[in-house]
């Protein structure tokens, strides 16, 4: 009884959920998409996933060692970044380029801005955009799973076909299950939706951003005379709407903010897809909206209960 007592400010109990468990939930939610990637794109997808994830964690570990900060790799956020980056690259990307992408994501976008919670742009998206601009040949390469899914073959992605390139459009069913060209993790709408439902059920994300994002694209492309179902299942739209645009740090915190953010992402995606030179616009759209995030938060500040304006 004579030992010193702990004294701290209330509360004295906490929810079990912490940053690590949230990140673990995101990793779990990405497992179906990762599995689909390996099923459709084979060993190359597995290598890409492994090299991005391991290198992302390693870069964070080394950076923290060098700058003598507490190591944050246990929070699993680097795993999420590495995994998302890998899933956003086509199977044709050489491993060294993927690892370079991890370095950009972790060192430049995340750690140099202060580490988890302090980056203003989504690390995986920024890294993908950097790779896209640096190595347009490999990153936009349209890579298809082969007939028997034993290897990959080149061809136009559905979006490229819609934009006018030669090629055949896969059936809607193939689009849904994932037997089509594109980045390894973005092709299976089913796998991504399973992950999205899991995140919603676990209350890691709310419906606002994904619904606003996908809904905007659906309605706008419908009005513009495109095929809305192809549009929402192609490119990185679903992985972007469910996993990237919902990144806590780089998206608004208020409900209306999330809706505006999702709408903005959808609008920009459609503009780029329909009128831009790139067939795909999700990455640019999210990156641009990331920059607007502090403003959106400010515009959508909630009125406190009982608060009287000065």
């Amino acid at each position: 009884m004579n030992e010193l007592l702990t004294v701290n400010v209330s509360p004295h109990i906490y929810t079990k959920r912490d940053t690590t468990s949230i990140m673990l939930d995101v990793v779990i939610a990405l497992l179906p998409a990762s599995a689909a990637a390996i099923i459709f794109f084979g060993l190359r997808a597995a290598i890409l996933i492994a090299s991005c994830t391991v290198s992302a964690v390693l870069f964070e570990f080394i950076f923290n060692k060098i700058v003598k900060k507490d190591n944050t790799i246990r929070d699993l956020s680097a795993v999420v970044t590495g995994l998302l980056l890998a899933l956003n690259l086509p199977a044709s990307v050489p491993v060294w380029q993927a690892v370079l992408g991890s370095a950009v994501a972790i060192i430049i976008v995340k750690c140099l801005f202060g580490g988890i919670g302090d980056n203003f742009a989504n690390p995986a998206i920024t890294a993908r955009v950097v790779l896209l601009l640096a190595f347009p040949g490999t990153v936009t390469a349209a890579v298809f799973p082969s007939e028997k899914f034993t290897d990959i073959i080149s061809g136009a992605t559905p979006l490229a076909v819609i934009s006018g390139q030669e090629g055949t459009l896969p059936s809607l069913l193939d689009m849904f299950f994932g037997a089509r060209g594109g980045a390894i993790g973005e092709t299976s709408a089913l796998a991504l939706l399973i992950g999205g439902v899991y995140l919603l059920a676990r209350r890691v994300i709310t419906w606002h951003t994904p619904v606003a994002f996908v809904g905007t694209v659906f309605i706008l492309t419908l009005l513009l005379g495109e095929e809305p179902l192809y549009q929402i299942m192609s490119g990185g739209l679903l992985i972007g709407a469910i996993f990237m645009a919902t990144d806590y740090t780089t998206s608004p915190t208020t409900e209306w903010g999330k809706i505006i953010f999702g709408f903005g992402c959808g609008l920009l995606t459609v503009i780029i897809r329909v009128w831009g030179t790139y067939p795909e616009g999700v990455s640019f759209a999210i990156l641009f909206m990331n920059i607007l995030c502090p403003y959106i938060n400010r515009w959508t500040e909630r009125k406190p209960f009982g608060g009287v304006p000065q």
Partner: protein, 442 residues
């Protein structure tokens, strides 16, 4: 349809809901602090060597916002000492050695109450303070002068804090006192409508209050969803009436008074017997306590002695709380006395005592999403770092009731309540300075 207020789902841990309160044997010493309420410290009127009996006045109210204090045991005043409060500042206290007889003072007799003024005077003399935990002098709350301002009274029986069941026991064991309390409010404050607000996780208490309401047409039992902080004053007013108490105003400004059920039961029993507030039924629980129960404790008893009554500890205690785990205050010493507005004392072992390690804010927005008042704790933290008081004012840090939802839900385990308290203090200081400057300019 008004927007529902958010809050958090905390584990209820109402382990002692079925525990009929036991009366603890008289302690050898009681140390009664002279500050057990919000307002002016009470003024001591006894000196070492004086003999006192149970219910005898030992300190007078120090001002209008204040409350008198009475001896909780019979015995001899040993010294005027000081005790460390949970806020960390020492306050004067009267230490009384009990003779073990618990002789009731001859001055304890029912007060004469026949109108509004004598009712308020009786409440004032009883030493009543808000027993739900806030400790605001009840006589000041009820002293509205013009009773037509009161549209309804809410009897706060939400008891949303985990572990605590003392109000639940009051509703089950002392329903007659609550019924009598309602009658007094109707008679002397001219109240036409009384709502008893109870969270739905207390079926026995709800049944007991419904039996009461069946005999009193002014009383209505309102079963509320179990969420924390349902029992927050502004929260329960909104849940029951839909009225919002604006910033800087009191519940009476929207025609409502909120009174805790145990406070009301106490007032009724005081008017019946004349025994002032000298004992308190508290819940003794927590992961370290051997056999949790409800205990009726003389005010001023050391917490350590109350734990002994509950079989001591099954694990080495490392943290003691007065109040529940969400808003309760950690004490510096196990010998800290039980005070009037305690409704629970809890003991945590070393595994549950330590606050988990802080990590970086990931801007998930949960602190704001779950704040019942829709405030933005994470933003306050950033404003504090930047020493930006104007931003704290704009974002209304002053509204924070320190309920703890933000800290509870934060996945980075940030000390958000602590930051909010700091923010409120900074804002108060800043506004005081501004006022002084404005005064000097004139």
């Amino acid at each position: 349809m008004p927007k529902k207020l958010r809050g958090v789902r905390v584990p209820h841990n109402k382990n002692t809901a079925g525990s009929v309160p036991i009366i603890m044997p008289p302690p050898r010493f009681v140390t009664i602090p002279l500050v057990m309420h919000i307002g002016a410290p009470s003024v001591c009127i006894v000196k070492p060597g004086d003999h006192v009996d149970v219910g005898q006045l030992i300190a007078e109210a120090g001002g209008y916002v204040g409350a008198p204090i009475h001896s909780s045991v019979s015995g001899t005043v040993r010294e005027i000492t000081s005790v460390m409060t949970t806020a960390g500042n020492p306050v004067p206290a009267v230490k009384i050695e009990s003779d073990g007889l618990m002789t009731i003072s001859p001055v304890v007799k029912p007060p004469v109450v026949n109108d509004y003024d004598s009712f308020i005077a009786a409440v004032r003399a009883s030493g009543a303070v808000g027993l739900g935990g806030a400790g605001f002098p009840t006589s000041v709350k009820l002293d509205v002068k013009d009773t037509s301002r009161i549209k309804e009274i809410i009897i706060n029986s939400a008891e949303c804090e985990p572990y605590i069941t003392s109000d639940t026991r009051t509703m089950i064991d002392r329903a007659d006192d609550i019924a009598e309390g309602c009658r007094l409010l109707e008679k002397y404050l001219n109240v036409k409508k009384i709502h008893i607000g109870i969270e739905k996780n207390k079926p026995e208490a709800i049944a007991s209050m419904r039996r009461l309401a069946a005999n009193d047409p002014a009383v209505e039992v309102r079963v509320l969803p179990s969420f924390y902080p349902q029992g927050g004053e502004k929260v329960i007013i909104y849940s029951i009436t839909g009225k919002i108490v604006p910033e800087g105003k009191l519940p009476i400004d929207v025609g409502t008074i909120v009174i805790n059920c145990t406070t009301l039961a106490f007032i009724a029993s005081y008017i019946k017997t004349g025994m002032p507030l000298v004992e308190k039924c508290i819940t003794v629980d927590g992961p370290a306590v051997a056999s949790p129960k409800n205990v009726i404790v003389p005010i001023g008893t050391a917490m350590s002695e109350v734990f002994e009554v509950c079989g001591g500890f099954k694990k080495t205690p490392a943290k003691f709380l007065q109040g529940g785990p969400m808003m309760g205050l950690a004490v510096y010493s196990p010998d800290t006395p039980v005070i009037k507005n305690n409704n629970a004392i809890l003991a945590f072992d070393k595994d549950t005592a330590l606050k988990p390690k802080e990590t970086s804010c990931i801007r998930c927005g949960q602190c704001s999403a779950y704040c019942p008042y829709r405030l933005d704790p994470a933003e306050y933290g950033r404003a504090l770092k930047a020493n930006d008081v104007e931003k704290l004012i704009r974002l209304k840090v002053n509204l924070c009731m320190e309920c703890g939802c933000c800290s509870y839900i934060c996945p980075a385990r940030l000390p958000l309540v602590q930051q909010n308290k700091m923010g409120k203090a900074l804002v108060a200081e800043y506004q005081k300075k501004k006022k002084a400057e404005a005064g000097a300019a004139k």
